[in-house]
């Protein structure tokens, strides 16, 4: 599984670049300018598709951690590590592009609403995961510890959402775009964004897995 990902990195890269070009073209030339918000609404296509890769990355972190704890196979730990790092990249982009859209539309950079707050907390959880890995002594214990935190993090997420909902009440964040009754052009452009971002995610993940594998091999050679 890991070997397949590492070997296919180049293919994912080519696909991702192509899809990004198509997506950008659609954003500029194909997607209509929205009447109320004007051209800033097009931030939508750069903001929303980040969500899926981010959740996917964090899901892989929890899954990899769980499988590592059960089977003790290093490749699962590497999967968890790669998922967290790539997931944080996309989650950062959600957290950064959101305010850039919110400022012209809502008038504030940040509102403490449900989705924004929950995403921010999610970002903090997996940033903490990366810190835990980065600042440990690099022993085997780190892998176990990180696995436990990765699992604990994903379990906490629904509770965080529920808590934030209680504390902050209703969301002003738009609903699921599929249900919002968008024109077909907008939906297609959004879809292109999702595909492009997922391909970028696949490319990043495969490269990150390769790096983790190379590190592990090198470590093995230095102290077998």
């Amino acid at each position: 599984m890991e070997a397949f990902w590492i070997r296919s990195a180049r293919i994912w890269g080519v696909l991702a670049l192509t899809a990004l070009a198509v997506w950008l073209g659609m954003v500029v030339f194909y997607a209509p300018v929205e009447k109320v918000q004007g051209v800033v609404q097009k931030i939508f296509y750069a903001h929303v598709p980040n969500s899926l890769p981010a959740y996917l990355g964090f899901g892989l972190t929890a899954l990899g951690g769980l499988l590592f704890l059960i089977t003790r196979r290093e490749s699962y730990d590497r999967l968890a590590q790669a998922g967290a790092e790539v997931g944080v990249v996309f989650c950062t982009l959600i957290v950064v592009t959101g305010p850039i859209w919110a400022k012209p539309v809502w008038g504030h950079w940040w509102v403490w609403d449900l989705r924004l707050t929950a995403t921010l907390v999610l970002w903090f959880i997996y940033l903490a995961y990366l810190f835990l890995r980065a600042f440990a002594y690099g022993s085997d214990a780190t892998k176990t510890f990180a696995s436990v935190y990765g699992i604990a993090g994903i379990i906490a997420v629904p509770f965080v959402k529920f808590a934030v909902e209680l504390a902050k009440g209703q969301t002003m964040h738009p609903d699921d775009p599929a249900k919002a009754g968008l024109p077909a052009e907008m939906q297609f452009t959004l879809m292109a964004g999702f595909i492009a971002y997922l391909l970028v995610f696949a490319y990043f993940l495969s490269r990150r897995l390769e790096i983790a594998k190379l590190e592990a091999d090198l470590q093995e050679r230095l102290d077998p």
Partner: protein, 223 residues
């Protein structure tokens, strides 16, 4: 029943240590007192409008103060090399976790009582209005903090930057407890009947992290 005996032995040892040395509790208490006094002086006088802020403030202070105690909960074992002996216990090592949690639970509950006393004194919080349910809430809140704190302090202790890692790991996962406990405290102080689901979900969250700690401590102590 060896497991329960091991947990009880760890609890007794930690309690004795806490009572005899007193430094762990003392540090948390002094810190909490300082923050509350500082807040009381700095913030404008509490009026009816700002009273709603007080519970969240107090729970946050408890969280901050708890860092001092949690960070040290495994330190003694590490310093004396006793951690090797903990690994050798003749039972599931999850019981070691439960023993540690129990000791931290008592210490943190004591911290909450201390914060309640200080806030009654300085911030005019009328705890008598909240009734006995407040004690139940303090027990649930400190149990969650103890479970999460013990688990995460153990994870953080492997690092050179444990001081930094503990809050970074702990705060995001503590957020739900902080929110529910603050809301429930506000309701109780306002003499309201608070929603039952909130109590249930708080207990559930505590329970989940007790389970996670119990089942993963085998692997954690092994490494």
């Amino acid at each position: 029943m060896t497991g329960a005996r091991v947990a009880a032995a760890i609890l007794r040892k930690d309690l004795l240590l806490d009572l005899r040395l007193g430094d762990r509790l003392g540090q948390m208490w002094v810190f909490a007192a300082l923050v509350i006094v500082l807040m009381s002086i700095t913030l404008p006088a509490v009026n009816d409008e700002t009273r709603a802020w007080v519970p969240a403030l107090l729970w946050t202070i408890a969280l901050l103060a708890s860092l001092l105690g949690l960070a040290r909960s495994l330190q003694t074992e590490r310093d004396d090399g006793a951690i090797q002996q903990l690994v050798q216990v003749p039972c599931d090592r999850g019981w070691v976790f439960l023993g540690k949690v129990a000791a931290n639970w008592l210490a943190l509950f004591a911290l909450l009582l201390w914060i309640a006393l200080l806030s009654a004194l300085f911030l005019d919080v009328a705890w008598t209005r909240a009734g006995f349910e407040m004690i139940g809430l303090a027990l649930l809140g400190s149990l969650g903090l103890a479970a999460l704190g013990t688990l995460l302090a153990t994870l953080a202790s492997s690092s050179r930057f444990a001081q930094f890692l503990l809050p970074v790991l702990l705060f995001p996962l503590m957020l739900p407890i902080l929110v529910w406990a603050s809301l429930l405290t506000r309701d109780l102080l306002g003499g309201q009947i608070s929603a039952a689901p909130l109590w249930g979900v708080l207990a559930l969250y505590d329970w989940i992290f007790l389970l996670i700690g119990y089942f993963t401590f085998n692997a954690i102590l092994e490494d």
